[in-house]
């Protein structure tokens, strides 16, 4: 390369990525360390080897080569086993792999490997070895740190006016707002430029905001939105919190450097509080997907639902012909073996209980029928299962409380020329988990969308083949309250292709997104009546707040024009609009379960009048203040303008036109 001919300016990389990430100094220092490591990052040290004489040297070398080349490709001349002057080996070896991931998996898989009775491998990364070597032999107590109380990550839940927060990402900005229905605007809470390098995500109870960077993931929270923790994971792409927020999975895929090799997947599990890496899963993509599946779908590991509030958790991933269920915090395979399910292609957890729903399509060219099963953990006992015939595809839907499970089954007719749909409905709270089949009056119709009412017994289906499909509502209970799936009603010719239930149930938004240009009907299912029909032209997203009081529709940057969001009340009244070019993300901050007991809650509902009076006074005062401050601001503006105009008049009158 003739460097004189190269315009260095033009090839220079973007500004320092840490600066762009907006991370502060301490991180930068740590990244420096990481960089230094990288030279030996793919080298491991294997200790506790037998010390052997020259005669046996070649034999041991070949044994080691055999063991360690199973895990990855050892570089040429990458296996070194030092000897002393008498040609006796020193009991350890260095192995250099092609990349850091291979080295890491070698450490994970061979540390503790029993070579023979006396010799158990002690394997670590070369860098770690170096690090530990630097540690002085004698323990020196660190200077006492000034006691700094951690900020309360729940502080935002204590807003005096009971408002909710949301985060927006637009351009290079990430901004957190209060939704303020009284002043009809989003009130600023915190803004930061270049806060994240790809996206942001709230933890399931809203305690943390996760930002995603090339080096890993950072969590932020508390009133100051300071950094609470960070987790190194190079080129991280996906993140997934456990429902209790205690664990965080980070994932990435790595394209092979050589042709003919497969894509590698790396998933790390961290303890969110301590930041400790609990376990790493790594390997070729085929270990993380179902047989015949193309590409990776995140989340690879799905967390089991939890209604008991405990912090242990099951998580599972699909594999060829099996589902592997692990248990946190031990991070070990339940029963030390996977659940064998030949051909399994999809699974879902109940959002409330450790129950898995799995689907296995037909096997052996139709000799073994397709099978839908619900499996309880940790017993691995089948709660219920059903064999199905002529199945083309299955979609699984759990009700939010885990009370019901529905599977939409698409089957072919006997002639195999056409398809039709039906539903299998399971009642999880009844003994023996009874099952029902539901077919629409015209079962050849296309099912556009299906959604359970959260915390309820009802569900809605959009069905029809035309541009204006019908929407039907069913209840799992009949009018007498018995367990019979009953049609509540059908409304015809709706401009809708998506369903968005309020998290409180009762209200559902029939949304016409994409080809339907952003039509919304706010529907009250109790009254079976439309509350409002509105339009947000080209809207791409709908997000309910965690309480079902407000809902936003947004146009994100998939469209060029009219980016921003509209804030609506639950009954379809526009509160305010917010426009920003390059609008990427809108996320309400989720809330954990209330700490009040059911009795306390009932008590509040009973005495709501007492509260209502006070709240109305507060709101009235805020509205009046906002009005009067706006009015006085206007007065000042007007006065200033009039004075200016008058001063210009005076000047003009003293001078004659030419």
């Amino acid at each position: 390369v003739d460097w004189n001919k190269v315009d260095v300016e033009s090839v220079e990389l973007p500004r320092d990525e840490f600066e762009r990430a907006g991370l502060d100094k301490p991180v930068e220092a740590e990244i420096e360390e990481l960089k230094q490591e990288s030279g030996f990052a793919s080298v491991i040290v294997v200790d506790n080897l037998p010390m052997i004489a020259e005669a046996k040297y070649a034999k041991l070398l070949s044994v080691l080569t055999k063991i360690f080349s199973q895990i990855g490709t050892i570089r040429e001349g990458g296996l070194l086993m030092p000897q002393d002057d008498s040609k006796t080996s020193l009991g350890f070896a260095f192995i250099e792999y092609e990349n850091e991931q291979q080295a890491q998996s070698a450490v994970d898989q061979t540390n503790g490997y029993q070579l023979d009775k006396k010799h158990v491998f002690k394997v670590c990364k070369f860098d770690d070895f170096e690090k530990y070597e630097k540690v002085p032999d004698e323990y020196v107590a660190p200077p006492p740190k000034p006691f700094a109380k951690r900020e309360n990550t729940q502080a935002w839940m204590m807003d005096q006016r009971g408002r909710d927060q949301f985060v927006c990402r637009f351009g290079d900005e990430t901004e957190i707002f209060w939704n303020d229905p009284q002043t009809k605007k989003g009130e600023d809470v915190y803004t930061r430029t270049h806060w994240t390098e790809s996206y942001v995500q709230w933890s399931p109870k809203g305690s943390f905001l996760a930002t995603v960077h090339r080096q890993g993931v950072a969590l932020w929270g508390g009133e100051s939105f300071g950094r609470i923790a960070k987790y190194a994971h190079n080129a991280v792409q996906f993140i997934e919190f456990s429902p209790c927020e205690r664990f965080l999975a980070t994932g990435s895929t790595h394209e092979p450097s050589k042709a003919g090799e497969t894509t590698q997947v790396l998933v790390n599990f961290f303890d969110t509080r301590s930041g400790a890496k609990l376990r790493t899963f790594t390997g070729p993509i085929s270990d993380f997907i179902a047989e015949g599946q193309q590409g990776l779908t995140w989340p690879v590991f799905k967390w089991a639902g939890q209604s008991n509030g405990k912090c242990g958790a099951f998580f599972a991933k699909i594999a060829t012909g099996a589902i592997s269920v692990y248990e946190a915090p031990e991070m070990t395979l339940v029963d030390k073996k996977s659940i064998k399910l030949p051909g399994v292609v999809d699974f879902c957890w109940s959002p409330a209980d450790p129950i898995l729903s799995c689907f296995q399509p037909e096997q052996n060219g139709g000799n073994v029928p397709a099978r839908l099963s619900l499996i309880g953990l940790p017993s691995k006992q089948e709660v219920r299962s059903k064999n199905l015939f002529n199945v083309v595809g299955v979609n699984m839907h759990w009700q939010s409380g885990g009370d019901y499970f529905a599977a939409k089954i698409l089957r072919t007719t006997k002639s195999k020329k056409s398809t039709y749909s039906g539903f299998e409905l399971f009642r999880l709270r009844e003994p023996n988990c009874p099952m029902e089949v539901l077919e629409l009056p015209n079962k050849a119709e296309k099912i556009v969308a299906f959604a359970w009412e959260p915390k309820g017994h009802r569900f809605a289906i959009i069905h029809g083949d035309g541009a204006r499909p019908d929407v039907s509502f069913y209840s799992m209970k009949d009018k007498q309250g018995n367990n019979n799936c009953t049609l509540i009603g059908t409304i015809k010719n709706k401009t809708a292709n998506h369903l968005f239930w309020s998290p409180n149930g009762r209200v559902v938004i029939l949304a016409g997104l994409k080809t339907m240009n952003g039509q919304f009907e706010f529907f009250d299912v109790d009254a079976m009546d439309t509350m409002a029909s509105v339009e947000h032209f080209m809207a791409t997203d709908v997000e309910w707040d965690p309480t079902g009081r407000f809902v936003t529709t947004a146009v994100t940057s998939v469209h060029q024009m009219e980016n921003g969001y509209h804030m609506w009340t639950f009954n379809g009244k526009l509160l305010y609009k917010y426009g920003k070019d390059r609008f990427f993300q809108f996320l309400w901050r989720p809330r954990g379960k209330s700490l009040l007991s059911p009795e306390q809650e009932a008590d509040i509902e009973k005495n709501i009048k007492k509260y209502s009076k006070r709240f109305e006074e507060i709101d009235e005062k805020i509205r009046n203040e906002a009005d009067s401050s706006a009015a006085s601001e206007k007065r000042i503006k007007e006065e200033k303008w009039r004075n200016w105009l008058e001063s210009k008049k005076a000047i003009r009158e003293t001078q004659a036109y030419k």
């Binding site: 009971g162 709501i608 509260y611 709240f615």
Partner: protein, 151 residues
């Protein structure tokens, strides 16, 4: 001379006769023309009358049809109204009772407006209640969150 006079008289008489004949013929002709004219006029009047009658009949038919349609629509409106309000109504109309569609429609519109307002009121009350219950719960849980934090 007498003969001449007689001849002259004969000529005169002859002429008068001719004159009278001509006059009679003329009169007859005129009468015939008048009769024909009258007949034509009568025919024209008749045709006009027939046409008029036909038109009236047609108009009456259309009016009847429209009335019937209005009646049907009015009945439908009433039925709808009844369905909405849950009230019972007679589906048959007594003869001679004229339904004013416009009035019914007006009534229906008024009713709809009223229903909308009613719905609006109910929804506003619901919105307020939802908001206040949520806020009250949050307010009451503030000390619990504080306590949890301090522990």
């Amino acid at each position: 001379a007498e003969h001449k006079r007689a001849l002259a008289r004969k000529v005169v008489i002859e002429r008068r006769k001719e004159e009278a004949e001509r006059a009679a013929a003329e009169k007859e002709k005129a009468e015939e023309a008048a009769r024909l004219a009258a007949q034509r006029k009568h025919e024209a009047n008749e045709a006009k009358r027939l046409e008029q009658e036909a038109r009236t009949r047609e108009e009456a038919r259309i009016r009847a049809e429209m009335e019937e349609k209005e009646k049907q629509e009015a009945l439908e409106l009433l039925a709808e109204q009844a369905k909405r309000t849950g009230k019972k109504m007679t589906t048959t109309l007594e003869d001679g009772v004229v339904l004013d569609k416009r009035a019914i429609m007006q009534e229906a519109i008024q009713e709809q407006i009223k229903a909308r307002q009613e719905q609006e009121r109910a929804l506003n009350a619901l919105a307020k209640r939802m908001d206040h219950v949520e806020r009250a719960k949050r307010e009451e849980s503030i000390p619990l969150i504080e306590k949890a934090y301090n522990e």
